[in-house]
């Protein structure tokens, strides 16, 4: 009986989504204004802070390249392929987890994954890959294949008080519909290509946030139990969405509502 109600509720919500996309879609003039703000993205300051942190705790770009066993020249393209399966970590990891490993190796107390210091530092590390095309390889090895499958499954699994999955609001057929005055975006390469534009400055939070952190905010609002950052499911979700944005040039920090 409970499941029946859950499904009925989600159907009711979906059918009451308005198609008033035009009213709430941004006008070209407004879009240009928000795009211009990227020139002075407040997140540039956080990325500058991240650069200092990387230098202090990880040996800077050089230290990171050495840890990842690539040359500094190859570092940008290598970073553009994250999340990756790294044998030393025995799991698929995001850049933030790599930085934790490097901090630990250098004898420092690691930043928590959900801390602004970690957001800043991983944003700087990812910015080294700016203009590189996102090149994640979900077929690189069995661990990446498994992560992609887990990510897709997590994306499609309905759960929580309203029986919603990520796909309930972000599937291709729903894209453009208005929910809470905002048109729902296409998260893949035809739309926002989230994986290429996060970490980003969130205007409503006046702070720099990573993609997994954003997933948490979204889950909370959709009444789904929030999954911890860095957990296999969260990394898998990032793998899945990064694959959806594959080929898009990386442009961080982004600027989001």
């Amino acid at each position: 009986m409970k499941t029946g109600i859950k499904i009925a509720l989600s159907l009711a919500m979906l059918s009451s989504l308005s198609f008033g996309g035009e009213q709430f879609a941004m006008s070209d003039a407004d879009r240009a204004m928000y795009a211009e703000m990227l020139e002075n993205n407040p997140a540039d300051l956080m990325v500058a802070n991240g650069e200092d942190l990387l230098a202090e705790y990880c040996g800077g770009d050089e230290g990171l390249a050495k840890f990842l066993k690539v040359s500094e020249d190859d570092l940008p393209a290598y970073i553009a392929g994250f999340p990756r399966y790294l044998p030393e970590f025995k799991q698929v990891v995001g850049l933030d987890q790599v930085l934790q490993g490097l901090m630990h190796k250098n004898g420092h107390k690691v930043f928590k994954l959900k801390s602004s210091d970690m957001f800043d530092m991983s944003a700087y590390a990812k910015s080294l890959a700016n203009d590189e095309k996102s090149n994640i390889d979900i077929n690189a090895n069995k661990q990446m294949k498994a992560a992609y499958a887990l990510g897709k499954q997590t994306y499609m699994t309905a759960r929580g008080g309203r029986g919603l999955s990520c796909n309930s609001c972000h599937s291709e057929d729903i894209v453009g519909r208005v929910l809470r005055t905002q048109p729902l975006p296409d998260l893949g390469k035809n739309g926002v290509a989230v994986a290429a534009t996060w970490p980003a400055y969130r205007m409503t939070k006046s702070s720099l946030r990573t993609l997994q952190r954003r997933f948490q905010g979204c889950m909370k609002n959709a009444l789904l139990k929030v999954i911890p950052i860095g957990s296999p499911e969260m990394v898998a979700l990032e793998v899945y969405l990064t694959s959806e944005a594959k080929g898009t040039p990386i442009a961080v920090p982004g600027l989001k509502r």
Partner: protein, 155 residues
């Protein structure tokens, strides 16, 4: 947000019209909030009671619909030679319905070369953003634009 409110807002989303009218009438229309008097008084305080003129020389750029109220871009540009004898002395920016209507006073000099100022402001809700410009000849120019502030989205 409570579940009831969530479903209510879905209905509202479709019904709200996003029309915007640039308006200079705030000075003449009935006060809509306590602050309505504050902005007219603030402007008077700056001009010393002098009536500012609307002019196509002042370009006020704000979004018609602001995605959020915390970070609203504002740019004011004034067509002026910025010479020692003819320049923009100051650009004042106001937010008509914020508890504090004043945002910033920017005092320029000919050394700026161009009369322009841009920043980001907080808007507590839909309201007018006003740019008041003081010229070196003692004249005041004014421009105003309504900004619709949407408070929505998930998370």
């Amino acid at each position: 947000m409570k579940r009831r409110d969530f479903f209510k807002k879905l209905g509202v989303a479709a019904a709200v019209a996003a029309t915007v009218t640039p308006t200079m009438s705030f000075a003449k229309s009935k006060p809509v909030s306590k602050n309505h008097i504050t902005i007219a008084a603030s402007i008077d305080a700056v001009t010393g009671g002098k009536k500012p003129k609307t002019s196509s020389k002042v370009k006020l750029k704000v979004p018609e619909i602001a995605e959020n109220g915390a970070v609203v871009p504002v740019t004011v540009t004034v067509d002026s030679p910025m010479t020692d004898s003819d320049y923009v002395k100051a650009i004042h920016i106001f937010a008509s319905k914020n508890s504090n209507a004043r945002a910033i006073d920017v005092n320029l000099t000919p050394a700026n070369g161009k009369a322009m100022f841009s920043t980001r402001i907080k808007l507590g809700g839909t309201q007018e953003v006003v740019a008041l410009v003081a010229l070196s000849n003692g004249e005041f120019l004014i421009a105003s634009q309504s900004v619709k502030v949407t408070i929505g989205g998930c998370g």
